[in-house]
Amino acid sequence: MSSQHNPEETLPSEQAAARGTVAQADDPFADPGLPAHKPRIQDIDERAAKRSERVVAFLFVLSMLATVAFIASFVAFPVDKSVFIWPIGHISILHVSLGVTLGLALFCIGAGAVHWARTLMSDVETADDRHPIEAAPEVKAKVLEDFAQGAAESGFGRRKLIRNTMFGALALVPLSGVVLLRDLGPLPEKKLRTTLWAKGKQLINMNTHQPLRPEDVAVGSLTFAMPEGLSEHDEDFQKEIAKAALMIVRIQPNEIKDPRELDWSHQGIVAFSKICTHVGCPISLYEQQTHHVLCPCHQSTFDLSDGARVIFGPAGHALPQLRIGVNAEGNLEALGDFEEPVGPAFWERG
């Protein structure tokens, strides 16, 4: 059955010709064999050979000079001085001189060696025979026999208890390594669900570090805020701002389409998470006429006038909104934490 479609049958018939052992006289496509070697000018003209020799030596000398120039540049040029070179621009003089001299020193060695090989070393092409990679049948037989003998002597197949317990031990021992990796980090728990925002925390302007007041936020303006109490010098600033960063815009209340968004705003001032719900880029390309906000990383687009709903791109859900109000001093404050996890979605997000 299987012999009917032996793969060998589909192989090209003319292997022997392709392997080019004997050229038949009547085959017009037969391999004529390696062409005779033709000499180069350097092989027959001593002057040409001398010229090549001088070129090679010149390149090597140039390399030496370039190395000397490299060292001289290193010593001579200050690290902070720049020079204008057209069309590169204002470039560090130390950098460019070190680079060009080192590059030249290396390149000339290579160019010299290759020119030497190409013009002065023999260019006679010769053929080496290949040998099959596969072992000869006798070798294979001997190896199999040796293996069988060794296996038999070990009793590996016979003493199953030894074999099985050994497999068990070998399978278990890497577990120690896996267990050791446990302390690479803490368990997720609820960490991704909460941010620093909480009821009563004032919105601090990222620019001025002052609490934001509703009258500061003009229609069409864009402001970023962080929670009161967070400072750039805090040890966990990076971790906290990665979740708490806030984007604040003001939209005419009659332009806000989403009733919940209007409800959570303060006189049209809306506060959305700055962290994209796709993979967490800080999203803030706010187009004040369309109220669209675009992520510069993967172009997810959200409509801030409609609950920050996704209108384009790879993000899967709207930007979380922070509920805001005004406290007794007239400053903007959060009325609680975000009601859903900020940033990229994850399995337990729900």
Partner: protein, 544 residues
């Protein structure tokens, strides 16, 4: 004098080099090694040097990388910058970023080495891809070189990740954005995502650990594995001996070229210096990753045009064009918008990696192949390769959609839609077109063999017709154009055996026959001219 003193004398007279070699041979057996390899023959072709570009840029990366470790501090401790770069004075940043600024502005030659390192990395991965394509399109991956193909593929993948961990080290705003993307992708994994993210970053993103962890992965773990693979790759190249194109005197059982000593010693050794020199000059005149212009990483800051280095560009394209699908069920979220691209990312790479095994299954060919195919003579393979490259390029376009938009005055949304469609359609069109071009070229070759090459001489026949004189090819060219093998399509065979019993045809068998027909069936390759056809035509010409 006695004979013993005579031999002692010759020993004493042996040159120093020989005596050192003798010493080494007695311990390492170098003479036997040299006997097999010193005059080893290598064929000459520019495309055989692509692998050398990879090897040399890898060596350059190790040399410059070691230098950089002397000055780089893989730490995320916060410091206030007070170095020489004015527009960052007093800015809070990690020690990693500050030390990279110091390498760039205060260490003499530090900027040069940094730029050589980064340029060499871009060129390293680019050269690996081109080298891989050379191997692919010439069929050099066939037996006995499949294992080496896999080694090379692993090197490409490891190279990409070594690059990614490397450019993330300075902790600048651009690379930090890339790390954030990676963290978001990890989070999207069902069940284990949040745990993996916590373990990778030592807690919540960005934490204070990832630079140090990426550092040991970048300078030790991945390059260590790569070094091992590079050595294995080279040993196999030596062991298999290099492939060659068909030509006069070049057969499947020999290798024609020039010896390692001296020609290839000089050419390959010289080429190392040429590669090093050129990359150094590129690094001297062209800026790369000017981290001082990017600023230190802060998770609440970002810049437009945030792209990864080019070799990660196709994954960036995948993630950019994916629609934002998300499924919520039973308190869980399946983030398809991120998870699907994350799964397609390895598939894109694996698609090209497994091809050799599919082809060898379809052909059923178990012989060794040392003669390279011209791409036109393997139309289906070539078409598949071009389709894959089209796929890859479409994704690269998607990864840079914002720059395409600004530089060609297009809408970013339109480009994204174009990429979404071209992702499916582009490879198919590329496949069909490439196959047709290959078949056309095969026809032209056959034409050339039978009727000779166009000489450009126009002759007027007695009855007034003008014809171009075709000059017959010489035997070397005839051989070259007919040396390729042509397979016959595999058949399933009769479904009923001689006793009238229906045999079961396995589904894989049917598939294989179908594929084989697609490869070698009628219309999928142009039968090459036979000696009889040739003789008939040429003798006819003789009578003319």
């Amino acid at each position: 004098m006695s004979t013993t003193t005579a031999t002692e004398k010759t020993k004493r007279q042996a040159p120093a080099g020989e005596r050192v070699a003798d010493w080494a041979d007695g311990r390492l057996g170098i003479y036997s090694l040299a006997k097999a390899n010193m005059r080893k023959i290598f064929p000459d072709h520019w495309s055989f040097m692509l692998g050398e570009i990879c090897l040399y840029s890898f060596i350059i990366l190790i040399l410059t990388g070691v230098y950089l470790t002397l000055f780089f501090h893989p730490s995320m401790n916060e410091v206030e910058y007070h170095g020489s770069y004015v527009p960052l004075q007093g800015v809070l940043m990690s020690e990693a970023y500050a030390s990279t600024l110091d390498i760039s502005f205060d260490v003499r030659g530090g900027l040069l080495i940094r730029q050589i390192h980064h340029w060499a990395a871009l060129i390293f991965v680019a050269a690996m891809l081109v080298h891989m394509m050379r191997v692919f399109f010439t069929g050099a991956f066939r037996k006995p070189r499949e294992v080496n193909w896999v080694f090379g593929f692993l090197l490409l993948v490891l190279g990409m990740f070594t690059g990614f961990t490397g450019y993330s080290l300075p902790d600048d705003l651009l690379s930090g954005t890339g790390v954030r993307f990676m963290q978001g992708a990890v989070l999207s994994m069902p069940v284990v995502g949040t745990y993996l993210s916590m373990f990778l970053f030592g807690g919540e993103f960005p934490g204070g650990d990832f630079v140090a962890r990426f550092y040991s992965i970048h300078i030790l773990l991945l390059p260590g594995i790569m070094l091992g693979l590079v050595v294995a790759h080279l040993i196999l190249v030596f062991y298999h001996k290099h492939t060659q194109f068909a030509g006069p005197g070049k057969t499947n059982t020999n290798v024609v070229g020039m010896p390692l000593l001296p020609v290839y010693m000089a050419k390959a050794g010289g080429f190392f210096f040429l590669v090093f020199g050129l990359i150094t000059i590129v690094a001297a005149i062209a800026s790369i990753n000017p981290i001082w212009a990017l600023g230190p990483y802060r998770p609440d800051q970002v810049s437009t045009g945030a792209q990864p280095d080019w070799y990660m560009g196709f994954s960036e394209g995948l993630i950019r064009v994916m629609p934002g699908w998300e499924i919520n069920f039973a308190g869980h979220t399946l983030v398809l918008g991120v998870f699907v691209p994350l799964m397609i990312f390895p598939l894109v790479l694996v698609a090209i990696a497994v091809y050799p095994f599919i082809e060898s299954w379809v052909t059923g060919d178990k012989r060794e192949h040392h003669l390279l195919d011209r791409p036109r003579n393997a139309p289906t393979r070539t078409a598949f390769g071009v389709a894959w490259l089209t796929w890859y390029f479409v994704l690269l376009v998607g990864g840079g959609n914002d720059l395409w938009a600004t530089h060609f005055h297009l809408s970013i949304n339109a480009i994204t839609w174009f990429v979404r469609i071209a992702f499916f359609v582009g490879p198919v069109i590329a496949f069909i077109i490439t196959k047709r071009i290959c078949l056309g070229l095969q026809r032209r070759d056959a034409e050339k063999v039978l009727h000779g090459r166009e000489s450009g001489v126009i002759k007027r026949l007695p009855h007034g017709e003008f014809v171009e004189v075709h000059a017959p090819l010489d035997q070397a060219d005839l051989h070259k154009l007919t040396a390729h093998e042509q397979y016959a399509p595999a058949e399933i065979g009769p479904e009923v055996d001689e006793n009238g019993v229906r045999r079961k045809v396995k589904r894989s068998e049917k598939l294989r026959a179908k594929l084989s027909k697609g490869y070698y069936g009628e219309g999928n390759q142009i039968p090459k001219p036979t000696a009889e056809e040739y003789k008939e035509i040429t003798s006819g010409h003789g009578h003319h």
